[in-house]
Subunit: 186 residues, 2 copies
């Protein structure tokens, strides 16, 4: 199981130039987002950018985290797509620099919401189709009843999920400021 085989925090930082306490954090974040089917390295990159609080270029990320060039490129690209990292270029500078957005969990929540929504929808679709097939084949009455109960439950979950996601977004939004730095905010 991917999400539960956590890295022991003390073993982190073996590679890269991160301070032990920093890789402790990078690993903790990695554990969290890995559970939601994101990649561990995404968490590490975001954590680094957030902790430093100032724009870092790809070379710095690569050195600090001990990642490969390509890995950094992919990681920042995806983090950008999710809106949790922003790319800036100071005038007179040839390299891009990356900053962490502080609304990390809000953005991640949105991505998860889309995925879960698609998953639940597909389940409802399949169950509906299965029910139709069961009717065609005129299966046993009791069995048909169970299929219908299942589909109804799936529809209920679908609705409950949508409702919860709205609430959850608000809750996370309320804590948005918790990650805003008081000074030198990017």
């Amino acid at each position: 199981m991917k999400g539960y085989t956590r890295h022991r925090a003390e073993d982190a930082a073996a590679i890269g130039t991160l301070a032990p306490w920093e890789s402790l954090i990078a690993d903790a974040i990695g554990n969290v987002i890995e559970f939601w089917n994101f990649k561990r390295s995404h968490g590490a990159v975001w954590a680094l950018l957030y902790l430093r609080g100032r724009p870092l270029d790809a070379a710095a990320i690569q050195a600090e985290l001990g990642m490969s060039k390509g890995g950094v490129s992919m990681a920042v690209r995806e983090l950008e797509q999710w809106g949790v990292v922003r790319r800036t270029r100071s005038p007179g500078d040839s390299a891009w620099h990356y900053v962490a957005e502080t609304d990390f969990f809000g953005m991640i929540g949105k991505v998860v919401a889309e995925r879960e929504g698609a998953l639940v929808d597909s389940v409802v679709r399949d169950l509906t189709r299965a029910e139709a097939l069961a009717v065609e084949r005129s299966v046993d009455e009791a069995e048909l009843e169970r299929v219908q109960r299942m589909r109804r439950l799936a529809e209920f979950v679908s609705m409950a999920l949508r409702t919860f996601l709205k609430t959850a977004n608000l809750d996370i939004g309320a804590t948005k400021d918790a990650l805003d730095a008081p000074d030198e905010g990017g």
Copy 2:
């Protein structure tokens, strides 16, 4: 990403003797629980038992789902541990038979709750430790502030999760009867 590479529902039932509409359901359930880091086969076994509504022995499960002997043994064992499947033996019968518990999502919820709880706790622990280390090394004031904000957020999430799990358990409990069969209930 494991949870999101769903099996196309129509491709199911290639193996095993399940009716197409049944494997459609088995696959749908598999998609759902796979997202929560359970195995696909667990969902298939439970779905089969639930749909049939009567005790099946290991040989039947094996034939219907096209699984191996060992696979069935492991699947039912774990389903039993989670409390979503019960094992019975009719008198004068040499083989065990298995029945689906209808409080499937309640039980799964409990397991997930334990796992997520452990995950969140370990994160809080790591962040606390990281903060202590950061103080020792007397890191930059602003950076320390960000670590503290992170830890506080983690603690908030930990509490929010516990609260939500109580609510969620109630919500799922309310829908518990949705899967209870009206007749021939095990």
